[in-house]
């Protein structure tokens, strides 16, 4: 037996396997995903996220709750009966807002700071502030100062809405106003690179971003003005002095989408084209606002035909909360028009607008005594909205002349405020969240309860309940959390 030679044989495969080991196992670097990316791919993703959140499921909610539309099935029917709970808006919270837009801005700030691309940093900070204001206006106290930091804080604390708006140095919370100011300062600084087509809002026009930033400060000051009138007045005065805010419709902060599949705005799919589109229909109540008397066509707001479709001989709508048989066929239904959705889903999604700025200044001139004439600013707001809707100057003038009770602010300040906010509500058609903020803040427009209203206590929701999944994941959230009838900090009455 030649054992020794056998032994040599035995060793061969072992040696082969051992020798191969040193780098044989070095194959765990993913070829599928980048581990670092540049600002031009982060910016459009984050911008689209903010718009998708504002314009998607939350807009189905806002549009129904603010009576632009009525629920004809699914979740909108629930919203229309004032039902909303922690099972709603999970995807928006998780994937559009915190896990989409906000973490996108966070990464954009980090990536842009590395290359000193201050133009990107500035935009990211302004949009981060805008998106956080949206979050806190919906849910109240939310993770803010500890949010978006991954493993550093896997269960971020909740910051009070008051601290988010006003800042709290002791707790290390930067105010949203300061975040915008920081962003504006970045926009003034030199930048190694600047956005172009990747900026799906302004196409790289930095001056417009500055105007958007200052107008965002107006919007946020306006939001807290009932709770903090002095602070609001200070900030509005500061912005007026700077005189670099949105003054024309062309400067609106509009997020643009496309017409092809996978590029379209959310509301296009939800209200017009997609498989859920038959869950929304024009609200009879809103129709009656724009058309006070069906027999008197001259009183029709010219924006009606722009805001909504009329595929049949007349507008087909249902009342809010209606539980009866739906009109048939669904092809006759009046839906959001191309003004809201774009002809083929392009949008734009309007986040901060010129008419909004005019109405804010009208309101603050009236209630806070900031500079400007409330009536002039009010007329400017209506006119800006009409022009945005493509109404001719002649038609605008005719409408204002024919409807002096609308065109002229009259009565007490409270009555004038109602006029301003009611017109702002009409102008915001297509963006339910913004007018929901105004309604909660001022009580205007005057809305009556839906048919078959249930809710927590039969009243219209004044906040969204915390996402159930988030409560489960983060013990810092109150459990059970406040329900949809609990008012926010800035919602004083």
């Amino acid at each position: 037996m030649k054992i020794s030679s056998y032994k040599k044989f035995l060793l061969v495969p072992f040696l082969l396997s051992m020798g191969a080991c040193s780098n044989y196992l070095d194959v765990n670097v993913t070829p599928n995903n980048p581990t670092e990316v540049t600002p031009p791919v982060l910016l459009p993703s984050a911008l689209a996220g903010s718009a998708f959140a504002n314009n998607g499921e939350l807009n189905r909610f806002g549009s129904v709750v603010m009576n632009y539309l009525s629920g004809a099935g699914g979740s909108p029917t629930n919203y229309d009966r004032f039902n909303t709970n922690g099972a709603d808006f999970g995807n928006q919270w998780r994937f559009d807002i915190y896990g989409g837009a906000l973490v996108g801005y966070q990464k954009l700030i980090e990536a842009a700071d590395k290359t000193n691309s201050k133009a990107y940093t500035g935009i990211a900070k302004i949009m981060k502030a805008y998106t956080f204001s949206m979050v806190t206006d919906i849910w109240g106290d939310v993770p803010y100062s500890q949010a978006l930091q991954g493993e550093a804080f896997i269960q971020p604390r909740l910051d009070k809405q008051e601290d988010i708006y006003k800042g709290n140095q002791a707790s290390g919370i930067q105010s949203l106003f300061d975040l915008v100011r920081e962003g504006l300062a970045d926009l003034e600084a030199p930048s190694t690179s600047k956005p172009a087509a990747d900026d799906i809002v302004y196409g790289g026009t930095i001056d417009n971003w500055k105007r958007a930033g200052y107008t965002l400060m107006l919007k946020m000051a306006n939001t807290i003005s009932k709770k903090e009138p002095a602070l609001a007045k200070t900030i509005i005065t500061e912005v007026l002095a700077k005189n670099l805010y949105i003054t024309s419709n062309a400067q609106d902060l509009n997020v643009k989408f496309g017409s092809s599949v996978g590029s379209t705005s959310a509301i296009w799919n939800l209200a017009v084209f997609g498989s859920f589109s038959n869950e929304l229909i024009l609200s009879t109540r809103f129709l009656n606002v724009l058309r006070p008397s069906a027999t008197d066509a001259t009183k029709t707001d010219p924006r009606l035909a722009v805001f909504y479709t009329k595929p049949s001989t007349d507008y087909v709508s249902i009342d809010n909360g209606f539980a009866g048989t739906l009109p048939t066929p669904t092809t006759t239904w009046s839906r959001y028009g191309a003004y809201v959705t774009g002809a083929q889903g392009e949008g734009p999604v309007r986040l901060i607008t010129n008419f909004q700025r005019a109405f804010i200044l009208a309101e603050s001139a009236l209630t806070l005594g900031t500079a400007g004439d409330p009536q002039a600013l009010y007329t400017e707001g209506i006119t800006a909205s009409m022009k945005l809707a493509g109404i001719t100057d002649a038609a605008i003038a005719a409408y204002l002349t024919a409807n002096p009770n609308i065109a002229t602010l009259t009565g007490t300040n409270e009555q004038k405020l109602e006029q301003i906010i009611t017109q702002k509500w009409i102008a915001w058609t297509g963006n339910g969240l913004e007018s929901w903020n105004d309604w909660r803040r001022t009580g205007y427009p005057r809305l009556t309860a839906s048919q078959n209203a249930v809710g927590i206590d039969g009243t219209r929701p004044v906040r969204a309940a915390y996402i159930t999944q988030e409560i489960e994941r983060n013990p810092n959230f109150p459990n059970p959390g406040p329900q949809s009838n609990a008012k926010l900090w800035w919602d004083v009455d």
Binding site: P13, F14, Y24, L25, D26, V27, N28, V29, T30, P31, N32, N33, P34, E36, V41, L42, P44, S45, A48, G49, F52, G56, E57, G86, A87, N91, Y98, G99, V103, G104, V142, A147, L148, G150, E151, I154, Q155, P156, I200, K256, G258, V261, G262, S263, I267, N269, L270, F273, G274, S275, T325, P329, T330, V454, G458, E470, E472, R473, N474, P475
Partner: protein, 1043 residues
């Protein structure tokens, strides 16, 4: 020792053959040496031939034409086989000694190692190929249903090729695959259900196959199921969920002959288990006919409304179409043909096997076709070198249509009004557009023909092994195995599809490849150190590489109707590619000691080095030990009552590595939204195509360590009444720790999950297999009974600090999350539960009489059964064998969209009863008293039948949860082997014909249809019917002959 039991069976079959004319007739009597009693049914075989006979009721036999140099082999169950040289004797009387060890048999364990069953300290269960073949079932996993203890097998639907889930001894990993490792002739065999997360989500998928469906059941010689980690430790990490070791047929047992076997079977398939529907009320709501309604809340038939106008403007009678849903389904068929040539002996042999299956499904336009070609052989050279190889090529084609809530054929089939003539009117117009009652959804038949999935699999797998006996006690071998396939899928959605109105074509290519090299050194020594101590040592090394690739070309927004080429698309942004490569090097060893054939100890260990773990943690060791003791032999206890007893125990720990690429945080191409609205980057804005990236929702972890499963097992084997009854009982306890899991994090971190080692998961279970022969008559009639029973308790012990629940990876419908929840079994479904009073009654809104809003985030459904059992009865008489398999699943719950659709929309039979009577939802109304205390009064608010049924609970509610208990006549097979007297003069060696049927009867006490369904297919998410395909009842005939 090789396959003695199988040999015995072969003899039993052969005894029926008459002898051919030859030299002399030998007669005699066979008795028992124990008590002298005569033994009927003893097999007598002429050695080296297929000829033989059996003793009659008095123990007498007669075998004609026996040559003088022949040897007769006398064998009988429970006795030692005797071999006698005939010489010049013409009367040979034989006494057979009882021998408990005769019951021992060789089983194939991990790495192809053959072991005597009695030496095993852990549980295995084997299944012979002949109980899988000719059972009206092309998928081998389905054919195993009800036949194994400790194994849970759940088909997803009756669609051809639909995947089947298999779990052995519960769920042991939070996130990893819980399917057992499949090994076919030593080849690690991929059994994945390749899913493309972007096109195949939980709500809308085309039910692709699990790839074990590529195996032809006819080619299987035997299957051995290695149940616990102790049994499978040598296979390493991937067998921590157990292993299914499949051995295909070879020419090894042909005894030098060449045999050609032809099998042919034809089965028909019909839909069955459909829920009972009402036939009194038609389309509409609130007693009004509405031609666009998906409800059956319209007017009663036989009233004033006799004619209605459809959405298309046609005037049609208003009447029930009782079979409108049933007749949507076709009659399916399964044609299976196979042919094989086997030749050779133990030293040198070959096999050529060809199989073909043609299945036409019950769903229109669906099929599953499979062709297998296998070539294999082995040769043992004079110099001791042994070479063997087998290579199989498989071509599988599957056609189907997606299932899922809403816009699919099966999202619609539960929404067909009772008065809608689904099959009697055209489903599409001249332009190819759907004609239906709804303008936004499509006719289910239109969907079946215009929303399609086609899969074309080309697969090659095989092994090459070379071995050499360096000495009598030392064998070294090297084995190379490969398994590689491509699955080329094409999903086509015509323009007008509900899910993609602009049309879409998805070319989806999956490539899978696995290579293994195994060095095995086997040393054996008898009487080591002391008399009767036998030792066996195995040392092995494994080198493994797995490569996966998935490339998807997605063409959206089609222009030309009916042209299904990606060139017809204008948006390609949903295209993607995903590649993974992983490698593993393992070293393993096993020391087996046997003392006096009654005490056995086995120690095993394996070290793995995996590419998927951080370098510092990528090497991990895990051991196993088992003991088996046969007291009946050790203490000479065997009696006529207790023939054999064995106690066994094992302990094992198996490590498992991570999936590739979990260590880093990455960026992904951005997308937002779901099936209601979505955008996917790159997006096209104002003519510019813009790429967009965002951080992945998962936080990576560069400190991962392997996860481990620890198991204890105790078992008892008993042979009773001279082994006429045998019992195999096992208790096991496994605990999985250090799980690699994507744990939920607060979404306000900016992320959804982080990968980390967490948690603990336990399984405790009892398995029982009882084999008995209650009746064995002298005339040859025999009744065999096999009972198996399984009871497993699975529990999520902990997840991560501060985390009490986390969804299982995989798509889910918002508000219905298959999850892990601390204190609950794996895979419970978390959703919205009804609000309840302190006494547990449902709370009712005092204004509406409806339930108050539910509470989200509650465990509402548990898919895990309480226990399962299967009972196989086999009656045989001469050439006739009837086998009947009943099985049952007790408990476990099904979450059913389909049931809620049918109920809420007034289609279900129960909704037609007393429809004009008011109803009251069960529950109480909360009243707050003046002192702040609360009183709960019974609900007394009446609702119409429509309001009642529609508000009993919608899709995302606990009213969609049903008890899935079911009793079933799973399988019935009657086979007749023609007596040799009939075929003696033909060229045929054996001919058998048979009839068989599957799913012939079921009874589900608490569900309106067959609860055995899971739209999510094989995988960790179970117990969901999100508008799936019903099951089939199959029956047919088969024919087998050899020559």
């Amino acid at each position: 020792m090789r396959k003695r039991l199988a040999g015995f069976w072969l003899l039993c079959v052969l005894f029926a053959l008459p002898a051919l004319a030859q030299d002399r007739t030998v007669t005699g009597k066979v008795t028992s040496s124990d008590d002298g009693s005569t033994l009927p049914g003893v097999s007598i075989q002429l050695k080296g031939t297929s000829r033989g006979t059996t003793t009659d009721s008095d123990g007498n036999y007669s075998l004609p034409n026996v040559p003088a140099n022949a040897r007769l082999v006398f064998s009988f169950i429970g006795t030692a086989t005797q071999e006698i040289v005939v010489g010049n004797q013409s009367t040979i009387n034989v006494q057979l000694k009882s021998d408990a060890s005769q019951l021992s048999e060789v089983v194939v364990t991990a790495q192809g190692i053959e072991r005597d069953r009695r030496s095993l300290g852990y549980s295995t269960q084997d299944v012979r190929g002949d109980v899988l073949a000719q059972r009206s079932e092309p998928n081998v996993l389905n054919a195993l249903q009800g036949k194994l203890a400790g194994v849970n097998i759940t088909p997803s639907s009756g669609a051809p090729g639909a995947s089947t889930n298999i779990n052995i001894r519960g769920i042991t990993s939070f996130n990893g695959s819980n399917q057992p490792l499949i090994v076919v002739d030593g080849v690690i065999f991929n059994n994945d259900v390749n899913r493309n997360p972007s096109t195949d989500n939980s709500l809308f998928s085309a039910q692709a196959s699990n790839r074990l469906a590529d195996i032809n059941p006819e080619s299987i010689e035997s299957i051995n199921v290695l149940k616990g980690p102790a049994a499978s430790v040598l296979y390493g990490s991937r067998a921590s969920a157990g292993a299914i070791v499949i051995t295909t047929k070879t020419g090894r047992n042909m005894k030098g002959k060449t045999e050609v076997t032809v099998n042919s079977s034809f089965n028909v398939q019909n839909v069955y288990g459909l829920p009972p529907l009402q036939n009194d009320y038609g389309q509409g709501t609130q007693n009004n006919f509405i031609n666009t309604s998906g409800n059956s809340w319209g007017p009663k038939f036989g009233g004033s409304l006799t004619q209605v106008t459809t959405l298309q403007g046609n005037t049609v009678p208003y009447q029930a179409y009782p079979d409108n849903v049933k007749n949507f389904y076709d009659q399916g068929s399964v044609w299976q043909n196979s042919f094989n040539i086997a030749s050779g002996d133990e030293r040198r042999n070959y096999i050529l096997a060809v199989g073909n299956t043609l299945q036409k499904g019950i769903v229109p336009n669906s099929k599953f076709d499979r062709t297998n070609v296998q070539v294999g052989g082995e040769s043992k050279l004079q110099n001791g070198l042994k070479l063997s190889s087998t290579v199989t090529y498989v071509k599988t084609a599957q056609n189907g249509t997606p299932v899922g809530n809403g816009g699919s054929a099966f999202g619609q089939i539960t929404r067909i009004p009772r008065s809608y003539d689904l099959n009697g009117t055209p489903y599409q117009d001249a332009q190819g557009k759907s004609i239906y009652y709804s303008t936004t959804q499509n006719h289910p038949l239109w969907s079946a023909y215009n929303e399609t999935m086609k899969s074309q699999v080309d697969r090659v797998f095989g092994n090459f092994q070379v071995g050499y006996d360096f000495a009598k006690w030392l064998n070294v071998s090297y084995r190379v195995t490969a398994d590689t396939y491509t699955d080329r899928r094409k999903m086509s959605f015509a323009i007008g599809s509900a899910r993609g109105p602009a049309g879409q074509i998805i070319e989806d290519m999956f490539f899978r490849s696995e290579l293994n090299g195994d060095l095995l050194i086997n040393a054996h020594k008898d009487n080591l150190f002391l008399e009767g101590l036998n030792a066996n040592i195995l040392l092995g090394n494994n080198i493994n590489q797995r490569r996966d690739q998935n490339t998807t070309l997605s063409a959206q927004q089609l222009t030309i109707p009916g042209f299904y080429n990606v060139s017809n698309g204008s948006v390609f942004t949903a295209s993607q590619e995903n590649n993974t490569k992983r490698r593993l090097v393992g070293y393993y060893g096993q020391l087996s000691l046997g003392y006096q054939n009654y005490l056995f100890v086995e120690l095993s260990g394996r070290v793995d080095q995996s590419s998927t773990l951080p370098k510092a943690n990528n090497t991990y060791f895990y051991p196993a030990a088992s003991v088996s003791f046969v007291p009946t032999d050790a203490f000479k206890l065997n009696s006529n009552v207790l023939s054999y007893a064995k106690v066994r125990a094992s302990v094992a720990r198996v490590g498992r590595d991570a999936d590739p690429y979990l260590l880093n945080s990455v960026f992904v191409a951005s997308s937002y939204g779901n099936n209601s609205a979505s955008i996917t980057f790159p997006i096209s804005v104002g003519g510019a195509n813009l790429p967009g990236f965002s951080p992945s929702t998962r936080i990576g972890n560069n400190n991962l360590t392997p996860e481990f499963v620890r198991s204890y097992e105790f078992g008892l084997n008993l042979g009773l009444f001279r082994n006429r009854a045998s019992l195999d009982l096992a208790y096991f306890d496994t605990r999985s720790t250090n799980q690699i899991f994507n744990v939920s994090v607060s979404n306000s971190t900016g992320y959804d999950t982080r990968t980390t080692n967490v948690g603990a998961l336990s399984n405790k279970g009892i398995e029982l297999v009882l084999n008995t022969t209650p009746v064995r008559l002298q005339n040859g009639f025999k009744w065999d009974l096999v009972l198996n029973f399984t009871r497993i308790r699975n529990k999520v012990e902990e997840i991560a600090p501060g985390v009490t629940q986390s969804p299982i990876t995989g798509g889910a419908f918002v508000g219905i999350n298959p999850s892990i929840v601390v204190g609950q079994p794996y895979g419970v479904i978390v959703g919205t539960a009804n609000a309840r009073s302190p006494q547990g009654q449902y709370l009712i809104n005092p204004n509406t009489g409806l339930f108050v809003p539910g509470i989200a985030g509650q465990v509402i459904s548990n898919p895990n059964p309480n226990w399962t059992a299967g009972l196989t009865n086999t009656f045989s008489y001469k050439g006739l064998a009837l086998s009947v398999l009943f099985d049952t699943r007790q408990g476990g719950q099904l979450y059913s969209f389909g049931a809620v659709d049918l109920r809420g929309q007034g289609h279900l039979a129960v909704t037609g009863i007393d429809r004009d009577q008011p109803r009251i939802l069960p529950g109480v109304i909360e009243v707050t008293n003046a002192d702040g205390s609360k009183t709960y009064n019974p609900n007394n608010i009446q609702l119409s039948a429509q309001n009642y049924w529609a508000n009993l609970g919608g899709l995302a509610s606990e009213a969609a949860v049903f008890d899935a208990t079911v009793y079933r006549l799973r399988e019935l097979a009657l086979n007749y082997s023609l007596p040799a007297s009939l075929i003696g003069k033909t060229p045929f060696g054996a001919v058998s014909i048979g009839v068989s049927g599957r799913n012939l009867w079921f009874y589900a006490p608490n569900y309106m249809a067959d609860p055995e369904t899971n739209t999510q297919g094989a995988g960790n998410i179970q117990g969901l019917d999100l508008n799936g395909i019903p099951n089939t009842r199959n029956y047919g005939v088969n024919l087998r002959f050899t020559f």
